[in-house]
């Protein structure tokens, strides 16, 4: 075997997690060799924006996550459009599909998730798509451009990705039906009431929503193209295309049977380290600490991938950093309905307290147990939601002011003085000097 080059920091996955790590590494070590491998042939782009690419043709340059000169500027070597075929953890090498072998000192697995496609009849037909990559969006775009007349789509799965695909298709003039197995759409990220607000908006835009059913089969025309689907109750819906959006699953292929501890995802500690020394993981592939549940969970959202990546990167580069934890959190703006949710969205049993407020398209709800917030859903009026999220993240006991959390006039001033002072106070630093100089009352500068 040819003498392999040895890379100090090797990152697999060029998305939120990989970039978070690369930026953190470069914050500590400006020169150590850093390589990012990705099987997608593009510089990092904002994955959620593939919907904008499909709906309005927003080009790659306008969905880039970082400026075009990012890799050069940060001395990052890129191997894009190449796939890691396998990793040898004891030798600390990996093999690329292109045939190269690379040796590494520290490795980050930021391989994300892959779309789940159930083994149903017709899944390989022309006109069946998934919707998680820019190439997926491009493939759908190409399909739509080749077709004449009214196109009808069935989106399987009413989660975030399904709704995102639906909005884009609708904007392209496609008629859409969503088939959702559970009782309401967006059921993993919204409670029934907030989901209903979204469902009303979707229906108003002409989307046909079928809940409580699954697609049993995708039907084919004589030409081998999609011409409809059959539901589990035997009903069939004619359509020209299908988008399978029932979820993503951690992409574990590289670690399978390799000694890296996994559950649903790759298990990492608070430093984002896996069970194998020198190997870290973050993002959709990882099962990291969830501060709401107090245990490791897969929380496949962009901010957690970036932040987890950042923590991994700091540790990889030799700094000590701990992941404060993340939880499921989502911001939705589909069809003009603004909703923010985080943590639990429905209490698992009646030992939880629910405090809510509703009216006129506005809905605010917090879930509390033992005085601490464990979940939140804010729809319509979302401006103060960040205050609530941070009370939840910080584990603040809100028992004494819980009713205020969902009130119309809620704000920082509704919190105990100690809390707002800590957030707004001038840091007690010797260098702090006021411009222009004014006299401060004593208590404003004293750290309690």
């Amino acid at each position: 075997m040819a003498r392999a080059e040895k890379i100090k920091y090797l990152i697999i996955g060029n998305s939120a997690g990989g970039i978070g790590a690369a930026e953190a590494i470069r914050g500590v070590d400006k020169a150590g060799t850093l390589t990012i491998v990705s099987d997608e042939p593009y510089p990092a782009y904002s994955r959620p924006l593939i919907s904008e690419h499909l709906s309005e043709g927003r080009p790659l340059e306008k969905i880039l996550y970082r400026p075009a000169d990012f890799y050069d500027k940060n001395k990052i070597k890129t191997l894009f459009g190449d796939k890691v075929a396998q990793i040898n953890f004891s030798e600390r090498t990996l093999e690329l599909e292109s045939g190269r072998t690379i040796a590494w000192q520290k490795l980050l697995l930021a391989t994300g998730g892959s779309p789940i496609v159930p083994g149903m009849e017709g899944k390989d037909l022309k006109g069946v798509f998934t919707f998680t990559t820019l190439d997926d969006a491009k493939a759908i775009d190409k399909f739509l451009k080749q077709r004449q007349g009214k196109i009808k789509a069935v989106v399987i799965g009413g989660g975030l990705i399904g709704v995102s695909a639906t909005e884009a298709l609708l904007k392209r003039g496609v008629e859409v039906s969503i088939v959702e197995m559970k009782d309401w759409i967006l059921n993993t990220i919204l409670d029934e009431e907030a989901a209903a607000l979204e469902a009303v908006a979707l229906s108003g835009a002409g989307v046909d929503i079928i809940t409580g059913h699954t697609v049993a089969r995708i039907n084919s025309s004589l030409l081998g193209e999609v011409n409809g689907i059959s539901l589990d109750d035997g009903r069939s819906i004619p359509c020209d295309m299908v988008v399978v959006a029932i979820g993503v699953t951690p992409r574990l292929d590289l670690v399978a049977g390799n000694g890296v501890k996994t559950n649903r995802g790759i298990i990492v500690d608070r430093r984002m380290a896996t069970s194998v020394p020198g190997v870290y993981a973050c993002g959709d592939v990882a099962e990291a600490y969830d501060f709401v549940y107090g245990e490791n969970r897969v929380t496949p959202v962009w901010p957690n991938a970036y932040t987890g990546g950042r923590v991994a990167g700091l540790n990889i580069a030799g700094k000590k950093a701990e992941y404060g934890g993340g939880t499921a959190m989502n911001a939705l703006k589909y069809f003009g309905v603004n909703i923010l949710s985080a943590g639990m969205v429905t209490p698992p049993d009646d030992s939880y307290e629910v405090i809510s407020q509703r009216g006129d398209g506005i809905y605010r709800k917090v879930i509390i147990k033992g005085g601490e917030i464990l979940g939140m859903v804010f729809a319509g009026d979302i401006e103060k939601a960040g205050i609530i999220y941070n009370l939840m993240k910080d584990g603040v006991n809100v028992a004494a002011f819980k009713e205020a959390l969902v009130a119309d006039d809620f704000g920082l001033a509704s919190l105990p003085e100690k809390i707002w002072r800590a957030r707004l106070e001038i840091p007690a630093s010797e260098e702090a000097s006021i411009v222009p100089p004014v006299e401060l009352p004593e208590e404003a500068v004293i750290d309690e």
Partner: protein, 145 residues
């Protein structure tokens, strides 16, 4: 860098800071035109929270390790390495509101009409931010920290 802080003890909740912020970020620099004729109306990037006798003029504190920058889905939120200011690149912001969810001060204002996040920019081009300069009670101070 310099940041704006509120001295709660002397903030009376007059909201002039909001008004000046709106005007500063309006297309028209004329108070009456900005408030009566601009459509969409100019939005303030700061906010006064009140409860009983407590009033707090709140704005982005340009956090170190800013959670909004980390959470931003598109990369529109970025920290200027020289000024340390956290900026929103309005071309790249799509108004997904993820930043709102993580901000401990709720200091990001959603412009739901134009679908972009707005935040305090410390009035670039001004010696002192207009909220500080126009606070009748010197309740806002501009501090080097």
């Amino acid at each position: 860098m310099r940041k704006v802080y509120v001295r709660e003890e002397v903030c009376i909740g007059c909201r002039l800071c909001e008004v000046y912020c709106q005007l500063k970020h309006a297309r028209s620099k004329d108070l009456v035109k900005a408030f009566k004729r601009e459509s969409p109306p100019p939005l303030a990037r700061i906010r006064v929270d009140e409860k009983g006798v407590v009033s707090l003029s709140v704005r982005c504190q340009q956090c170190d390790d800013a959670p909004c920058v980390q959470a931003c889905l598109t990369g529109a939120l970025e920290r200027n390495p020289e000024s340390r200011l956290v900026n929103v690149d309005e071309d790249r912001c799509i108004g997904c509101w993820t930043c709102l969810l993580v901000c401990p001060l709720a200091a990001i204002k959603p412009d739901t009409e134009q679908k972009r996040a707005l935040k305090c920019d410390l009035c670039q081009g001004e010696e002192i931010p207009v909220c500080v300069a126009n606070c009748p009670n010197e309740a806002l101070v501009y501090v080097e920290v």
